[in-house]
């Protein structure tokens, strides 16, 4: 099956007052039809920029985007804004962390969803409104006939995010890009919204790119995962591969530093020393080496890639070296 979205050797550089800063280095990933790919990383890792730059949602005057990106085999990079706008919303929809980036405060929810539908399809006003009501019902908003006439400020954060999901799904997109969709929500509401995203993407057959910092959300939602650090994908594989047998010491750190909810409580949490490098870093070696407990002199050179099927990591450690450093954990 050919991938729906195929990104190769993506490099994103911002022009800043202090000179050019490369935020994304040589990033490649593909999204297959129907799969959920999670891109996970901490703030500043380049996880959002990788997607937004492909969708043309970065400031074009100050950003250089290099590499290749195709959607259904057609190139995306370099497309004029008009052509991109036809694709965004209809074929590729975006859900961001703050629902108010997608909603305007001055129009009623229903009118905004109807406008979205009418921008991409030839549908009459009343029919678009009926579709809006059906969509709001679909995302479990209570009393959708009344909710269509509400303004965004009259809804809670969780309800607003549902309305944005309804709007994103209004044109049955082939690809949904969800950028930290539940980070601003309370735990019990996050569970509801994740459940909704999972159900709807399955029903619509949409592929999803889920951008998140939360390894728990990755494990529950994704089929495959790409771990980003300092603008690079340092490890990628299926969720089972990466969670059961992580290869990159950064992935070890990410997983180990999450306080467990069951089992014995460690006296101290394993943590990663230091902090991520500044975005302008230009040294050729492994960007994680200064924080890595397994760092060696060879890490000052660009790291090789370890590969086994779809599981890959940018690290010099091979299987025996990894086994010696981090014995596989017994499941709690």
């Amino acid at each position: 099956m050919s991938p729906l979205l195929d990104v190769r050797n993506l490099r994103v550089t911002f022009a800043t007052d202090g000179g050019p800063v490369t935020a994304v280095h040589d990033v490649s990933f593909a999204v297959q039809p129907g799969e959920v790919l999670a891109i996970v990383g901490e703030s500043g890792s380049g996880k959002s920029v990788s997607l937004l730059s492909v969708l043309g949602l970065v400031d074009r005057r100050r950003t250089t985007v290099e590499g290749q990106a195709t959607f259904r085999g057609e190139p995306l990079l370099g497309l004029p804004e008009r052509a991109l706008r036809r694709i965004r919303g209809r074929d590729i929809a975006l859900i961001s962390q703050d629902p108010m980036t997608a909603l305007t405060p001055v129009h009623r929810i229903g009118a905004q969803i109807a406008e979205q539908i009418r921008a991409h399809e030839r549908v009459g006003r009343s029919k678009a409104r009926d579709r809006a009501v059906a969509l709001l019902r679909d995302v479990n908003i209570p009393m959708p006939e009344r909710a269509v006439d509400r303004y965004p400020h009259e809804l809670s954060g969780g309800m607003r995010q549902r309305a944005v999901i309804a709007m994103a799904l209004s044109c049955n997109p082939a690809l949904l890009v969800a950028d930290e969709p539940t980070t601003a929500l309370d735990t019990t509401v996050q569970a509801q919204v994740l459940d909704l995203l999972r159900r709807l993407s399955a029903e619509h057959g949409s592929s999803v790119v889920l951008i998140t910092h939360d390894m728990g959300v990755v494990a529950e939602m994704a089929t495959r995962v790409a771990v980003m650090y300092a603008g690079r994908i340092v490890e990628t594989g299926t969720v089972a591969e990466v969670f059961d047998d992580p290869w990159h010491p950064y992935t070890w750190g990410l997983l180990d530093s999450i306080p467990p909810l069951t089992g014995p409580r460690p006296r101290r949490l394993p943590s990663i020393a230091g902090m991520p490098p500044p975005p302008g870093r230009t040294e050729p070696g492994c960007p994680f080496a200064p924080r890595c407990r397994a760092a060696m002199p060879v890490c000052l050179r660009p790291p090789p890639e370890q590969v086994a099927g779809g599981h890959r990591a940018l690290c010099v450690l091979d299987a025996p070296a990894r086994a010696a450093l981090r014995p596989p954990r017994v499941a709690a």
């Binding site: 735990t187 509801q192 990755v218 750190g253 909810l261």
Partner: protein
């Protein structure tokens, strides 16, 4: 409980006025904290958990006297401090320190870290001017920052380092109680683990007592000796950390724990998810009977008719539920 309470909320209530009215008794009020009884004992870390709107931050601010209490009392080390004036409150202001989610809001951006830290030392007369430089280096050492940090400005630090400065500022007062309100929730996980460990180290080294307010149950489990779970202004369950996490008794605690996405690939290793209906009701108009009744999967007629009081179970924890899920069998 062996240790004496260091700070106590006694039937503490805090109301906010939503809409004023000229007619007496007609103003619209929101009861953010509803007759809460809670004690933090010497040497323990009490984790106070709740979702947004639960009243956990308001309770923390009433206990530190950053907010006035509408009704009930704040008792610190046996003394009622609810209505003390500024002068009488000075020892309390030194003994109780607060740490916030965003340390930047409490660090003056125009002043060097050394100046920020030495000012309270001088104002409260904690150290003589001669001893201040030594104390500043001690404080940096305690929070794991180099002494050179004293000469820099807050904006030169990362989020994790700024939180360390916030902690140093609280420690400068040599407090007995630290109330930390979401102190690690703005930090990335790898840095969050460092700061969580710092809290544990400091408690041991300085024999501190913490009230640790957070929404992240994993972090709370890691740092707390005891936990209290709030919902709509009331404490619904409180007990030893392991007792509550291993077998939650209140249906809300149970649902909250089950809702957390767990970072394991095997779905069989997860708790059975209990998806709650709806969202937290409007605190200005809470449901009658049990406040959780509108979302509780086990609600019965009694729950709608009568609000359950916080009562002890056989395993020592307290729960406000007519039909607790655990802790009833001897």
């Amino acid at each position: 409980m062996t240790a004496a309470p260091l700070i106590e909320a006694r039937a503490l209530t805090r109301e906010f006025v939503l809409r004023r009215s000229w007619l007496p008794g007609r103003a619209q009020m929101l009861r953010a904290v509803d007759r809460v009884d809670l004690a933090v004992h010497k040497g323990e870390t009490l984790g106070l958990v709740g979702e947004s709107g639960s009243g956990k931050s308001t309770l923390g601010r009433c206990l530190t006297r950053l907010l006035e209490t509408t009704d009930g009392a704040v008792v610190f080390d046996g003394q009622d401090v609810t209505h003390l004036g500024a002068r009488g409150l000075r020892p309390f202001r030194q003994a109780v320190q607060m740490i916030f989610q965003d340390p930047s809001s409490s660090l003056n951006p125009r002043r060097r870290v050394g100046d920020i830290l030495s000012e309270p030392l001088a104002v409260h007369g904690i150290r003589s001017p001669r001893d201040i430089p030594v104390r500043l280096r001690e404080l940096m050492d305690l929070v794991g920052l180099p002494a050179s940090a004293l000469d820099r400005f807050p904006h030169e630090f990362s989020g994790g380092q700024r939180q360390r400065i916030g902690i140093a500022r609280a420690l400068a007062m040599e407090p007995r109680l630290i109330v930390a309100d979401e102190p690690v929730s703005a930090l990335d996980v790898s840095v969050q683990a460092q700061v969580v460990n710092l809290f544990a180290d400091l408690r041991e080294r300085l024999s501190l007592t913490y009230l640790f307010i957070a929404h992240d149950l994993g972090v709370v489990r890691q740092v707390s000796t005891r936990v209290a779970i709030m919902y709509l202004g009331s404490i619904v369950e409180t007990g030893e950390t392991d007792t509550v996490f291993d077998a939650p008794a209140h249906p809300y605690t149970e649902a909250l724990l089950s809702a957390i996405p767990v970072p394991v690939a095997d779905p069989a290793a997860r708790r059975r998810r209990i998806l709650l209906k709806g969202e937290i009701p409007n605190a200005a108009n809470p449901p009658s009977g049990c406040k959780f009744v509108t979302r509780c999967p086990y609600a019965q007629d009694l729950c709608r008719a009568q609000r359950p009081a916080l009562r002890p179970l056989v395993d020592g924890r307290l729960v406000a539920c007519h039909f607790p899920r655990a802790g009833t069998a001897a």
